[in-house]
Subunit: 428 residues, 2 copies
Amino acid sequence: MIKAYKNPPKNQWESLAKRATNQEQDITATVMQIFNAVKTEGDTALKKYTQKLDGVAITQFKIEEEQLAQARVSSALYKAMKLAATNIERFHSYQKIQRDPIETTPGVNCWLKDVPIEKIGLYIPGGTAPLFSTVLMLGIPARIAGCSEIIVCTPPQSDGQVDPAILVACRLVGVKSLYTVGGAQAIAAMTFGTASIPQVYKILGPGNQYVTRAKELATQFGMAIDMPAGPSELLVIADDASIPKYIAADLLSQAEHGSDSQVVLLSDNEKILIEVNKELALQITSLSRSEIALNALNNSFSVLFSSIAECINWSNYYAPEHLILAVKKADTHALNVINAGSVFLGNYSPESAGDYASGTNHTLPTSGFAKNQSGVNLSSFTKQISFQEIKPDGLNNIGPAIEQMAMAEGLDAHMNAVRIRLKDLANV
Amino acid sequence: MIKAYKNPPKNQWESLAKRATNQEQDITATVMQIFNAVKTEGDTALKKYTQKLDGVAITQFKIEEEQLAQARVSSALYKAMKLAATNIERFHSYQKIQRDPIETTPGVNCWLKDVPIEKIGLYIPGGTAPLFSTVLMLGIPARIAGCSEIIVCTPPQSDGQVDPAILVACRLVGVKSLYTVGGAQAIAAMTFGTASIPQVYKILGPGNQYVTRAKELATQFGMAIDMPAGPSELLVIADDASIPKYIAADLLSQAEHGSDSQVVLLSDNEKILIEVNKELALQITSLSRSEIALNALNNSFSVLFSSIAECINWSNYYAPEHLILAVKKADTHALNVINAGSVFLGNYSPESAGDYASGTNHTLPTSGFAKNQSGVNLSSFTKQISFQEIKPDGLNNIGPAIEQMAMAEGLDAHMNAVRIRLKDLANV
């Protein structure tokens, strides 16, 4: 089912690890036009674009408290969402950091403090696949971090409504400000603020190409965003201890995301590769999104390496969004993972678990960004501020060094700010 | 000396907090040209631009180990650099995080791990003001984080050499790969890699407008950067316990950075504002960079508020790069600081201390970015990877919830990846 390579030489690694890019140039012009309109016309522009792009006439963007309170899903789904929310809350609460000050030199106290970003905007895609799980993944850490203002923008369905599962997820998370607006116009609204929709300091959440481009453009206006976004990816490393039908199921769970998804299978065992291929052909037929999955498998491949260590090596080169280590001694191999978004160990850790309910976050770096970016975690909702309190004896201890260095850099006012104090202290 | 405002109404806050921007449009075209040249011609382009822009013919970019080993500064400066390095090391080591796994549900173990970014490029400005202090501020945390490849690019002086203080700082920090190349061409080289200069995953360090624009452009090629850069800023909050001549010295130490620097003084005490102004006029005359400082003071202002709480409130709105709290009970007021890069408490904590030797980092967010960005700290050199290991009983515990949620999102392959395992487990 998927292309197969064997022990590719180093000079082929780059082309093998290259992600497909299909960036349409005309998107940028459209998104900039939307930004300009929203900046100057505010809500009027939002209404115009919602009518044009979603085919819906919205009179009020904000969802009433009553509507939020009344939304319902099946009790089985509600129970599932509660379980997921509990685990997400546990995993992100555990990431909290509390640091006492440190005395770097006697009389010189310094500390670093995590402070919540005040205003957070979450973008939740709607339409045919309402991603209520993303409300939990972004809303829960935002609340734990202590962000004082958390808003959600999500596009209307064709009937002008928002899927009840998204409303219920917002209620579970404690988000009260929910707006029925999507696309680049929603990103523009959170960037500039309108009469209806407040300006925020950071925007997080997935979206289509227009939303992604809009988030990139927003950074030019001082906005922070979660990360650059690309098609979803999974890399699985398997050995003779792995179970082919599980691996095939995991590869397909990634492949059904979109035709541009990529799955990669590495092994030191050719038999496994063959068996997984057989299972792929078998399992794909019963999927409702089999056509999408098939397209994705056409972008995908397997590689046979001489050892699992080599597989890990190549995986670090590729830097996958998701990495499954379906191998013996997975915990030992995990120590050698350098570049990946999220790692799943053993035969009973499917990627689906991290997508929904184990507690880890599912908003992760794609396209090789795992080399220099983190997935969303608690620190995505805070910034670090450094503090220092220097006592007179502390300034006596480090002041002369500051004077020397400032002089050497030719900055005498820097030197003087210390000298004027040291002089007074010498005369005490 | 500086413009004075009294209790400005809320609707004037925005214009008062607005930073000056002087973005030259033609910079982008020049920088893109340099990027294209370096991408296609490599070292040849680097040599061409170094000749053209620095007026120096470079035959070898890499500085020989021997040259690095032989560089010398005065013993007083060396001692000062060692003291600073020790404090920077202490403050950044203290930021290390070690987290054990957490069991979010019985049988479901998750953990978040800080992993060093492998390849780091530091840009150190040279020329008239060689910023060797920045070598310490960026190189030391990169080393503590465990980054395996740390390189430094710095422009040549007119004689083709690099200032010995920069060489000594690199030696102190343990950086061995140092390249004599500056400007946008250095950023391009680290972005694409050339025969001489390795490609990196993240670039940190200050620079002129060309360097700044080049770093922004580099992000379009998958590069991570430290932060958007703008003119330096200091906001001081003073009350009747503060000492006017100290405050004037601090304001001037910021003002001497550049004509586009901005200093802001807030107080609940008009007398202090008047006295600081007198001191500014007195102290500025003796500075070697008095003209620059005077230009900066022309962009600057003071504001009288009715209370220190109001001053803090406005400071949070402005989000200064540096904030000095020269007030009584500074530690109590510090608890209310929400948006700032680095905070200095009391009368003996001049900004110069953080610039050089107290241990905190001097690479900080400007232009209001402190609302959503951190200054450089240990985590600037790492990314966080999440891991999970689910045992069979763990999958039994959370599997049904995953199935429910995947079904509700219309992703049956996600559901199937769990179901195929649960079925096997039920038959054990």
